[in-house]
Symmetry: none
DNA sequence: AATGAATGAGACTTCATTCAT
DNA sequence: AATGAATGAAGTCTCATTCAT
């Protein structure tokens, strides 16, 4: 009763998943060049040759893996506060919290590291990531900011054009975890609070509107 | 007629500098594993063997290069608004501007990328970078924040313990330049303004003090 | 149709044997440092990389090869005149003859040369050779000498403690074959006779016992 | 008043001597291939380039060194018991003692090792060594043996044609010192006695002449 | 004559990829 | 479909030799 493609440890797609997962671990740990196909195979519990039945080359395996692990995250990360009728501030709080939860604290940070490290050699991946993850996320933030400005919650400022800034502390936290956490650990919970605090405080309207004047 | 030890294109130290510069370029472009000693040599205008007269191995060359390019930056970057009697806000503005100028806009961002990419294999470099660059920078920011709080310029908040947040948008800008600038260029000048604007606005004291901690 | 693991030119063990044999030839001909893995591979009819599937490094290949060629010789060489009830003299004659046959005339002399040449860098091999070959051989000779003295066949002399001397002419013959045979060939048969003759004549008891110790 | 060729540390010949001595040590310790010109130069207290002012290549340096250190030994070693009117036995005793003293116990054994190890690649050296050292030594022994047979001191035997056998234990002792002395030290003095004892005993005439008969 | 920096051929070793079984 | 032995290109590092000073 076992379908056509079956054999041993699952369907072909399941097989490919196992390989991709093993590959992700190896790439994340060692980087593209230093990861060995042999180790990926061993980790996946198969032989080296089998890897090539599912992926044509190390480069394609790498690209496939990145793509495969980015997409599902997007689904979860976006559409956080969607559809609910919340204040702009409440929406932003949710987005930021989601960001820490889904990306900074998860193993997606290893994918981020891979993109930073190997992006130069895989520009399509960067483009893909930019289009599928970054742009979407930024759009969500921008819309919320605009809504807040329109409703009078937020003061009007250039920040609307630079939603990057809103997410920046979370990205930094991600890097910190990767690089310096061994030397000086970072309390993500409290950082997230300080982050939310200062950003929202910076956004809120006040009576007297400040003139920025970033001049020397 | 010029001193001892000369030959060809300069003193031994100049020669080492040339090699280090070439190595930095190659490492920055390709990463540690993919950079080839041969290419570094060619770029430095010397032969493969000569590299080994100045650096004992590829690993040591890498470490040496990173260190060599971090140290001089520190000198310049530290002591930004030192010694002058400025308001805390003015000092922060100067620090942030300096940050964009010295790090985000300079080739130090390639060093950062290398550290992110290869840090796992060179933990001493991470420790070194943390001690020499990050810690110092954070101390300068922390002190200024504290001064602002003491003088009443800034409201009191957890941010004093998380100076990371202050610098975060600049770090993000650096990453953006490395990764996505080709797809969606970033106007550093205006980003810096938006950054300064929101951060300082977020820090300033107001009449009604905000209650933070909108946590989970 | 033949078992598992087959491929090309035989079982893995046969393959390792072929490589070891090729390596022995190359090492014997050129010495450790001057032998090239590439040549060993070519001689074995395989590619360079394959050598490393069977032996982890040039050094280990060398050690393994030496060991591999010493052990089987031991089996054959020891137990020469064992178990038979012969006079001590007859036993010695057999041992000496065996010695010429198994060592001097065989390719074990190339192993000896390698040990002499490279022993400094491979002390474990020297220790191994001493323990497995030299010690055993010397014990066999010593026992026979002692038996001869006890039975009155041989006169009592310091030679019992220096069985080296008994074997010395054969060792010399081995060296000669390696070094000078091209210039002045050595007739092994007749040398062996002269050797046996003088040694046994030197050992035999006579009426008047000689006073040794003509020392300095 | 310093001649023409003088400078710094001695005449050119003295310089060459220093280099040759350093080279001998390095070659003896490491073998031809593993010895580095740089180390030889350092040991000689000069720079690498200078070696090439005195010797055209590593190979020629090696050959020169061997030759240079063999010749003076010959002068001393040969002509041991020459010219004196001694019995054949007394002459042999002197020759054997001289052999142990000049060769086995001296650093000439390192030269011997070099010849054994590298002889294959330097056949002229082997030929030279054979002609200048071995042949002469063997001639001296042969003549003494013949004298002893003629005078009735020694019994007539095939040994006259195999003077190698007479020297063999000393050669073996030399090898032993090189290879196994660390594991099982050899008392040269007592070995020399046992050697002399058995050889001379084997040579001496007796009443009943033995028939060798090396048969099965 | 002496130096020692520079060269570049050459050797070991790794590993992505292929392919016979 | 799966295996894993085999391949060989490529990369790091060494060191004999050269040569400008």
């Amino acid at each position: 009763m076992a379908g056509q493609g079956r054999r041993g440890r699952g369907t072909p797609e399941e097989r490919a998943d196992v390989i991709a997962a093993a590959a992700l671990s190896e790439f994340a740990e060692k980087g593209f060049a230093a990861a060995r196909i042999d180790d990926i195979a061993r980790r996946a519990g198969i032989s080296k040759g089998t890897v090539y039945l599912y992926f044509d080359s190390k480069e394609l395996l790498f690209e496939e893996v990145i793509r495969r692990y980015i997409v599902p995250r997007i689904e979860r990360a976006t559409g956080a506060g969607e559809g609910k009728s919340l204040t702009a501030e409440a929406t932003l709080r949710i987005i930021i919290r989601q960001f820490y939860r889904e990306i900074v604290g998860s193993d997606l940070r290893y994918i981020m590291r891979l993109l930073i490290a190997e992006g130069g050699r895989f520009p399509h991946l960067l483009r893909f990531y930019h289009a599928e993850v970054i742009s979407r996320g930024m759009k969500a933030v921008t819309e919320t900011l605009r809504r807040g400005v329109d409703s009078g919650e937020f003061r009007s400022s250039a920040i609307v054009e630079f939603p990057h800034v809103i997410a920046a502390p979370a990205v930094l936290a991600m890097l910190w975890k990767l690089l310096f956490d061994d030397f000086q650990p970072l309390d993500l919970e409290r950082l997230a609070e300080a982050h939310t605090d200062i950003i929202l405080n910076g956004l809120r309207s006040r009576r007297e509107d400040v003139q920025p004047g970033a001049g020397a």
